[in-house]
C-alpha cells in the first residue's frame, strides 16, 4: 500500500471492524419485505403482456372476479384513474425531451413484453396468480422495435402520441476555439474510430422486489414497506401520485437484499399496492418471481457507442468525438435519460485533454424492458469506450498500452485539476495506482511470458488488459444537478444525538442495502465523539425516523451522507464544549477534546467526559443561559464537488483458441477511494464490483428476439456467475485523500464495476491480437470468442490470397 497522506491520529477510522449488521443477517433474524407478516393482507398479481408491442382492444376480468379467493380485479384504465398522473421521470434532460405517459398498468397499448395490463387482488398469492389465467385480453399485435438504429428510423413508432421513437438528443461540445475538434482530427498523427455495444444487463439483485402497503383507514396514514434503495424519494412520489398527504405517508425499506440501481425507482407495483390498499382498506402485498423480475425490473447499460480519438505523434490526446445511442426501453424510468449524461464527462478517462470534445447522445424508445441506472450508470460505459480506445491507439502506435496511458495521465501535482469540462477533479495520483497494479500483476514478467507463449500455431494464448478509471461519484452538488435538469438536489441529512446514558444515535438519510452503513457510520461517530462504535446505533430507511434524506445510489452515501454525520458530530461537540466550559468555569476556547473527554488546556485535572455532559444536557439543571436541553445536532450537507475515486485494474487471461474459452489467470484491482473508513468493507465493495464488471465482459447479456421476447429471463438462462466461474481478486490500494470534505473520503461502491469490463476485454483482445482480432462483442463467451477468431482468420486468409494473386 502506498500512503500518500499525512496520517492523523485516528483510533477508529481505518480499522477492519466486523460488521454490526451481520449477526441478524447470518441467523435469519433480519426481516426482508417478503418476510413481514401482516394479518389480512391481500395479494396482488399482475397480468403482463405477452406481446412486446400490441394495442389493447379490451380487457375482461369478469371470470377472474368469480374465481375462489379473488377480491378484486382491474384493467389498466380503471387503475390509471386511481392516480393523479403517470409514473415519474425525474430527469428531463432537455426541454423538448419526449416522455410517453407511463401508467402503472398499460391502458391503450402494451409497449414491452412484461408491461402490466391487468391485476388481481386475492386472499393468497396462489389464488391471485391462478386468477390471472382467467383474464381475457384482446390484443392487436404490432411489429416490435428491438434494434436501436431501426428505432431511430421511426419505421415503426411505439408511442403513437409522440410521433417518433426519439426521446431526446443531448449535446456537450467543448472547444477553446471554434472548430478545434475538427482541427484536432485533421492534424492528428494518429486517430482511432470504433463502435462498442453495451449489451443490456439484468441487475439481478438476489432479493426480488417486494412491496407491502399497510393502510390505517380511519386515521388516513399509509405505511409502505418496499425493497427500495430510495425510501425518501419514493415517499414523495407515492404521496403525489396517490394524493395521500405527504405527512401521512411513511415508507420503510426493511432489510434490502441488494440493489445495484435496480431498486432506485418508482415502480408500478409500489404505487399499485398503495392505491389498492387505500381503496380496499386492507394491507396489499406483492412479491415478484425471478422471471417476472427479469422483465419488469429495470435493465442496465444498453448503448451503442461510437468513439473517435485524435492524438499527436507522442500519443497524447488532442480531441475526442463521441456519438451515443441510448436504449431507454419502452418508457422513461426515474433517472434513465440522465444515465448517458453521467458518462458524458468521463469519455476522456483519467487523461489530459484540451478543450476539444464533441459528445452527443440520442436516446430512443424500443419495445423492451425500460432501462435505468445500473451499478456505475453511464460511467462504466464511458470508461469502457475510452479504455478500449486507448488500447486501439496503443496498437496503432505500436507501443505498450500502459506506456500510452502514462503519457496521458493528469500528473499528480496538477490536482485539484480543472478538466476540459469545467469540472474539478479533487485529487489523484494515477501513476502511483498504475505502478502498484503493475507490481501486483508482475507486468513485465507476464509480458515476457506472453511473448514466449503466443507464438504462431499456439492454441493457448495469453493476454494482459489494463484499465484506468475515474469514478465521478458522490452525487452531488445540488447546483450542478440543477444545471443538468435533475429533478432533485444532492444533499444528505444527518442527526447525531448523545442519549442521557452516553449512547449515541445517528440518524441518516442514506438507505443501505448491503453496504454496511450501520458499521461505517458508527465508526465515523465513534471517531468524532470518542465513544465505542458498539455504543452507536444507526437509524435509517424509515421516513418516520429519518424524515430527510436522498438515499443510496451513485456511490454517494459516504462522501455525502457520511460527511453529513461527521458535520453533525461537530455540532454536538460544539454544544458539548459550551456545557463543559460552563461547568468547568473555563473559556470554551481553552478546552481540548479528545477520546471523548474535554480537558482544560494546561490543567489536565480539570476535565469533563462526554458522558457527564450528556447527562447534564438531559437534566438541564445547570446549562449556560439560553441553551436548550439535550445533546443533539442536525445538519443537511450539500457537497461542494463530486468525489473522484480512481484506480488501475489489470487482468491476465489465457484463451483456448480451439474452444474460445477465456480463463482469467489473475485479476488485480488497485483502487483509491481516499481515506478508508473500514478497509474490510472497501475490499468487499471492490470485490463485488469487479465481479459484476467481469460478468458483463464474459457472461451476461439480456437476449431479445426480433419479436421483443426476452429469451433468458430465468437464472437458469441468464448467466449470473457462480463462485466456480470467477477468479480470486488481488487488491491493492493507494490513499489520496479528498480535499473537499473533512474525512478525506470518496465513494467506492461502483469503482470495481467501472474498472473491470474494459480490463477484461482489453486482455481478451490482447491475447487474440496476433490472430488479427481487434475487437470483440461483450460478453466474450466461448461462442463469441471462437467466432471472432474464425472471422479474423478468414479475413487474414483472404487478404493473404488477395495479395498473392
Amino acid at each position: 500500500m502506498t500512503m500518500t497522506e499525512d496520517a492523523p491520529a485516528r483510533t477508529v477510522l481505518g480499522q477492519r471492524l466486523l460488521r454490526k449488521e451481520d449477526p441478524a443477517l447470518l441467523t435469519g433474524e433480519a426481516k426482508f419485505t417478503a418476510d413481514l407478516v401482516v394479518p389480512g393482507a391481500l395479494h396482488l398479481a399482475v397480468l403482463r403482456s405477452p406481446y412486446a408491442h400490441a394495442t389493447i382492444n379490451s380487457v375482461d376480468v369478469s371470470e377472474a372476479l368469480a374465481a375462489p379467493g379473488v377480491r378484486a380485479a382491474y384493467a389498466g384504465a380503471e387503475v390509471a384513474a386511481m392516480f393523479t398522473g403517470p409514473l415519474p421521470c425525474a430527469w428531463p434532460v432537455t426541454a423538448d425531451m419526449k416522455n410517453p405517459a407511463h401508467f402503472p398498468l398499460a391502458v391503450t397499448k402494451a409497449a414491452f413484453a412484461g408491461d402490466g395490463v391487468a391485476c388481481v387482488l386475492a386472499d393468497s398469492a396462489a389464488a391471485a396468480k391462478d386468477a390471472l389465467e382467467l383474464i381475457k385480453v384482446d390484443y392487436t399485435p404490432h411489429e416490435a422495435v428491438t434494434n436501436l438504429e431501426d428505432a431511430l428510423s421511426d419505421r415503426v413508432v411505439i408511442h403513437d402520441e409522440l410521433g417518433t421513437n426519439k426521446s431526446y438528443t443531448w449535446d456537450l461540445k467543448i472547444e477553446e476555439t471554434e472548430g478545434q475538434v475538427d482541427a484536432a482530427f485533421a492534424t492528428a498523427a494518429y486517430t482511432t474510430k470504433q463502435r462498442f455495444i453495451q449489451q443490456r444487463l439484468i441487475p439481478a439483485a438476489m432479493e426480488p422486489r417486494s412491496v407491502l402497503a399497510v393502510p390505517q383507514p380511519f386515521g388516513g396514514d399509509m405505511t409502505l414497506y418496499s425493497t427500495t434503495q430510495i425510501p425518501h424519494i419514493l415517499k414523495i412520489f407515492v404521496a403525489v401520485l396517490t394524493g395521500i398527504p405527504e405527512h401521512q405517508m411513511r415508507v420503510i425499506a426493511p432489510a434490502v437484499g441488494g440493489g445495484f440501481g435496480s431498486k432506485l425507482n418508482v415502480y408500478p407495483e409500489e404505487v399499485l399496492c398503495t392505491a389498492l390498499a387505500r381503496k380496499h382498506k386492507v394491507p396489499v402485498r406483492w412479491t415478484e418471481d425471478r422471471s417476472e423480475a427479469s422483465m419488469s425490473t429495470i435493465q442496465g447499460r444498453a448503448q451503442i457507442q461510437d468513439i473517435e480519438l485524435a492524438a499527436d505523434a507522442d500519443g497524447r490526446l488532442t480531441g475526442i468525438r463521441v456519438r451515443l445511442i441510448g436504449d431507454m426501453g419502452a418508457y422513461l424510468q426515474l433517472v434513465a435519460p440522465g444515465v448517458p449524461l453521467l458518462g458524458a464527462f468521463l469519455y476522456a478517462g483519467v487523461y489530459e485533454l484540451p478543450k476539444a470534445y464533441d459528445f452527443s447522445c440520442t436516446s430512443v424508445f424500443t419495445n423492451m424492458t425500460p432501462t435505468d441506472a445500473y451499478r456505475g450508470a453511464g460511467r462504466p460505459e464511458a470508461t469502457y469506450a475510452i479504455e478500449r480506445s486507448m488500447d486501439a491507439l496503443a496498437t496503432e502506435m505500436g507501443i505498450d498500452p500502459l506506456e500510452l496511458r502514462r503519457r496521458n495521465f493528469i500528473p499528480k501535482d496538477a490536482f485539484p485539476y480543472e478538466a476540459f469540462t469545467g469540472l474539478t477533479y479533487d485529487s489523484g495520483d494515477h501513476d502511483a495506482a498504475a505502478t502498484v497494479a503493475a507490481e501486483l500483476m508482475g507486468y513485465d514478467e507476464f509480458r515476457a511470458r506472453q511473448a514466449a507463449q503466443n507464438v504462431p500455431g499456439a492454441t493457448k494464448l495469453l493476454g494482459l488488459g489494463v484499465s484506468t478509471y475515474f469514478e465521478m461519484c458522490g452525487l452531488a452538488p445540488s447546483r450542478v444537478l440543477a444545471s443538468l435538469n435533475y429533478g432533485a438536489g444532492g444533499w444528505e441529512a444527518a442527526t447525531v444525538r448523545v442519549l442521557p446514558t452516553n449512547r449515541v444515535q445517528v440518524v441518516t438519510g442514506t438507505a443501505p442495502h448491503g453496504q454496511g452503513h450501520e458499521t461505517s457510520w458508527s465508526m465515523i461517530a465513534a471517531e468524532k465523539l470518542g465513544v465505542d462504535p458498539a455504543d452507536v446505533d444507526v437509524l435509517h430507511s424509515d421516513t418516520a425516523i429519518a424524515p430527510y434524506g436522498l438515499d443510496t445510489y451513485g456511490s454517494r452515501s459516504l462522501p455525502v451522507g457520511g460527511v453529513a454525520i461527521a458535520n453533525a458530530c461537530d455540532g454536538v461537540i460544539d454544544k458539548a464544549r459550551q456545557i463543559a466550559a460552563h461547568q468547568l468555569e473555563a473559556n470554551p476556547d481553552d478546552l481540548e477534546f479528545s477520546g471523548g473527554v474535554f480537558r482544560v488546556a494546561g490543567s489536565p485535572d480539570r476535565e469533563m467526559p462526554l458522558a457527564a455532559i450528556a447527562w447534564a444536557a438531559f437534566t438541564a439543571h445547570d446549562l449556560p443561559d439560553g441553551m436548550e436541553p439535550n445533546l443533539e445536532h442536525s445538519t443537511h450537507y450539500d457537497p461542494p464537488n463530486f468525489s473522484w475515486p480512481f484506480g488501475t485494474h489489470m487482468c491476465a487471461v489465457e484463451i483456448d483458441t480451439e474452444t474460445g474459452q477465456v480463463e482469467v489467470l489473475k485479476y488485480v484491482a488497485v483502487d483509491d477511494c481516499g481515506v478508508q473508513v473500514n478497509p474490510l468493507i472497501v475490499d468487499g465493495q471492490v470485490h463485488g464490483g469487479v465481479i459484476q464488471g467481469l460478468a458483463q465482459a464474459l457472461y451476461e447479456g439480456a437476449v431479445y428476439d426480433t419479436d421483443g421476447n426476452l429469451k433468458n429471463s430465468t437464472l437458469a438462462e441468464y448467466l449470473v456467475p457462480a463462485a466456480s466461474d470467477v477468479p480470486p481478486i488481488t487488491l491493492g490500494h493507494t490513499v489520496t485523500p479528498s480535499p473537499t470534505n473533512q474525512l478525506g473520503v470518496k465513494g467506492v461502491g461502483e469503482a470495481g464495476t467501472i474498472g473491470a469490463a474494459p480490463a477484461v476485454i482489453n486482455a481478451v483482445v490482447d491475447a487474440l491480437s496476433g490472430l488479427g482480432v481487434r475487437d470483440i462483442d461483450m460478453p466474450a463467451s466461448p461462442n463469441n470468442v471462437w467466432h471472432a477468431i474464425q472471422a479474423a482468420r478468414a479475413s487474414t486468409t483472404s487478404s493473404t490470397h488477395g495479395g498473392s494473386q
Binding site: L18, R19, L26, A204, G258, G688, L715, A723, I729
Partner: protein, 152 residues
C-alpha cells in the same frame, strides 16, 4: 394433506395444499423466514436447507416430500446461548456477506460442503458452492470464509 416434519428440533404438523413447496411451507406455515427465495428455477440456492443431514434447495421439493423428515434451517444453526455456528462466525469474520440475502443458503451449503470434504482447496470450495449465487461479494470473501471455517 398432512405433513409432519421436525424443524430445528421441533416437530410441526400441518395440513398443506399438495402443491406447496417446502420453502413456502417453512416460511409461511412453520413461520421461519430466514430461508429466502431468490429465483423460480432452482438456480440461486438462497433457499438451501438441510433435510436429514443433506443440503437441499427447498424450492425443489414439495412439502409433502419432506414428510417425516428432519430439517435444519438457518435459524437452527446458532447455539441456544446465541453462539454463532463456526460457519456463521467465519462469514462474519471474513466479511463473507453484504446484503445477506443469499447468506442463509450459502451458510447451509457451505456447512454441508465441509461435512463432505473437511479440508477443501479453494477450487473445491468454488466448485462446491456453484449452486449458490451471490451478487454482492464477488465470492472472494465467501470462499475465504469457508476456508477459514475449515481451518478451525
Amino acid at each position: 394433506m398432512e405433513v409432519s416434519v421436525t424443524v430445528n428440533g421441533v416437530t410441526h404438523t400441518h395440513d398443506v395444499e399438495p402443491r406447496t413447496l417446502l420453502v413456502q411451507y417453512i416460511r409461511e406455515q412453520v413461520g421461519l423466514t430466514g430461508t429466502n427465495i431468490g429465483c423460480d428455477t432452482s438456480s440461486c440456492g438462497a433457499c438451501t436447507i438441510h433435510l436429514d443431514g443433506e443440503a437441499v434447495k427447498s424450492c425443489t421439493l414439495l412439502a409433502v416430500q419432506a414428510d417425516g423428515g428432519s430439517i435444519t434451517t438457518i435459524e437452527g444453526m446458532a447455539a441456544a446461548d446465541g453462539t454463532l455456528h463456526p460457519m456463521q462466525q467465519a462469514f462474519m469474520e471474513n466479511h463473507g456477506l453484504q446484503c445477506g440475502y443469499c447468506t442463509p443458503g450459502m451458510v447451509m451449503a457451505a456447512t454441508s460442503l465441509l461435512q463432505e470434504n473437511p479440508n477443501p482447496t479453494e477450487h473445491d470450495v468454488r466448485i462446491g458452492l456453484e449452486g449458490n449465487l451471490c451478487r454482492c461479494t464477488g465470492y472472494h470473501n465467501i470462499v475465504q470464509s469457508v476456508l477459514a471455517a475449515a481451518a478451525k
